[in-house]
Structure formats: structure tokens, C-alpha cells
């Protein structure tokens, strides 16, 4: 096993643990009876608007779905990363699948950023939906973390494009005898 294969296998293990923690954490935060402190730490917006206890069951269910959406996008990007890792371990560095996975990871990371920004807006709307008329809040916030996530997203798109060019050059070279 080469060093790069070993590193990819380590990365795979880390990604699997992250997926489990992320999805497990999501359910834990919203459905464990003693998890409100965790929710408020994870979603400071909720604590700013009265905490988890102030939500009715309908708001809790919607809040769960709203906060789940960006996580699902990130989980799918990670699953694609696992697929890419498997392809790389199999030696398919310049394969059509590797190119597609790379590009798709980039796209899903951009979707994740979009959903993260959107979920904060929706969460504020949800938390203030039972407020008296005129006291519903609307906010749009973009954090540096959101922008930082765009860096690996763009890198994935660029690497996908580089793989496409390299593959076409290799194919052309194969047609020269």
C-alpha cells in the first residue's frame, strides 16, 4: 500500500466518522430531552430568540428540517468524497468517475453554502412566526465561514476541470503511435 493510499484510507475513516457525528448530532440536538444547551451552542440564533423551550412542536419539527437541509447537502458532498476516495484507491486518478465526483463535490459544497445562508434566514422567520403582527423578524447573514467553504468548493471544481483536460490529453496521446 502506497503512502497516498494509506492517507486516502485515513481520510475515508475521518469522513465516515464526521457523517455519523453530523447526522447523529442533528437528531441528538433536536430530539434528546436534555439537549437544549447543545442546540443553543450549535444554533446561537435559537438561544437569541428564547431557546429551544420556547418552541412549540410544529416549530421544533420545522426547525429540525430547516437545520437538516444544509447538513444533508454536506453529507452528500462527503459521500461523493468517499466515492472519489474509492476510485483513487482503485488507481482511477484520471477516470470519468473521478472527474464527475470532483465536480459534484464542488457543486454540493456551493449548495451547502447557499443552504447554510438560507437556513439562518428561515430559522429566524420560524422562531418569530408566533410573535404578534409587526414583530416577525427577517435577517440575512453571511459569515466568513460560509465564504471560506467556497474555497474548497472552487478548488474541487478546478480540479475536476483539470482532470477533464488531463483525461482528454491522455486519450489523444493514446491515439498517437
Amino acid at each position: 500500500m502506497t503512502k497516498i493510499d494509506r492517507n486516502i484510507r485515513i481520510l475515508k475513516s475521518i469522513v465516515i466518522i464526521m457523517i455519523v457525528l453530523m447526522l447523529g448530532g442533528q437528531f441528538w440536538y433536536w430530539f434528546a430531552p436534555f439537549s437544549s444547551d447543545f442546540v443553543e451552542t450549535s444554533h446561537p440564533i435559537i438561544s437569541q430568540y428564547g431557546g429551544l423551550e420556547s418552541l412549540d412542536p410544529q416549530q421544533s419539527a420545522l426547525g429540525f428540517l430547516i437545520t437538516l437541509a444544509p447538513k444533508l447537502a454536506l453529507v452528500w458532498a462527503m459521500i461523493l468524497l468517499l466515492k472519489l476516495s474509492n476510485a483513487l484507491i482503485a488507481g482511477k486518478w484520471f477516470d470519468q468517475d473521478s472527474e464527475n465526483h470532483c465536480t459534484q463535490i464542488g457543486r454540493w459544497l456551493i449548495i451547502f453554502v447557499g443552504l447554510t445562508i438560507l437556513h439562518r434566514t428561515l430559522l429566524v422567520l420560524l422562531l418569530t412566526m408566533n410573535n404578534p403582527e409587526g414583530e416577525h423578524h427577517f435577517s440575512v447573514s453571511v459569515s466568513t465561514n460560509d465564504l471560506m467553504t467556497l474555497v474548497p468548493a472552487l478548488l474541487c471544481l478546478i480540479i475536476g476541470h483539470m482532470v477533464r483536460i488531463a483525461r482528454s490529453q491522455r486519450d489523444e496521446l493514446n491515439e498517437i503511435v
Binding site: E172, E175, I176, V177
Partner: protein, 69 residues
């Protein structure tokens, strides 16, 4: 493609088998067949030199340019 590969004609003239030429220049018979039929995008100088050496000819004997093709 206006470039015509005359390798099959040259092989017939020299009475050389494709198999022997392929073995000499170090490519597969399948690739030599593709080269003979002109179904390749290019020829390496090394391949061309090995063919010329084995068949005792010039590159111009193997490749021809036809404007109307």
C-alpha cells in the same frame, strides 16, 4: 484527413510482414494496423524513424499529402 499512409504498399513492395515490423518498432500489431489504415491522430518521430530504418525508406515514402482529401 489529407495525409495518406502508404505503409501497406511499402510493406508489400518490401515483402515484409506487419508482425515483423511491429516487433521491430516495438508497437502492437493492432496499433500498426491502425497506423496502416490511417486511423491514428499522429505518429511519433521515434516510430517513424524505426519504420524508415527497417524498410530502408524515407518518411515521404510512407506519408503522402493530398490537398483534395
Amino acid at each position: 484527413m489529407p495525409i495518406i499512409v502508404r505503409l501497406d504498399v511499402l510493406l508489400a513492395k518490401r515483402k515484409v510482414k506487419s508482425k515483423d515490423l511491429a516487433a521491430h518498432i516495438g508497437i502492437t500489431e493492432a496499433n500498426l494496423s491502425l497506423l496502416k489504415s490511417g486511423k491514428v491522430k499522429g505518429v511519433r518521430f521515434a516510430t517513424l524513424a524505426a519504420i524508415c530504418e527497417y524498410l530502408e525508406c524515407q518518411p515521404g515514402d510512407i506519408l503522402e499529402y493530398h490537398e483534395d482529401l
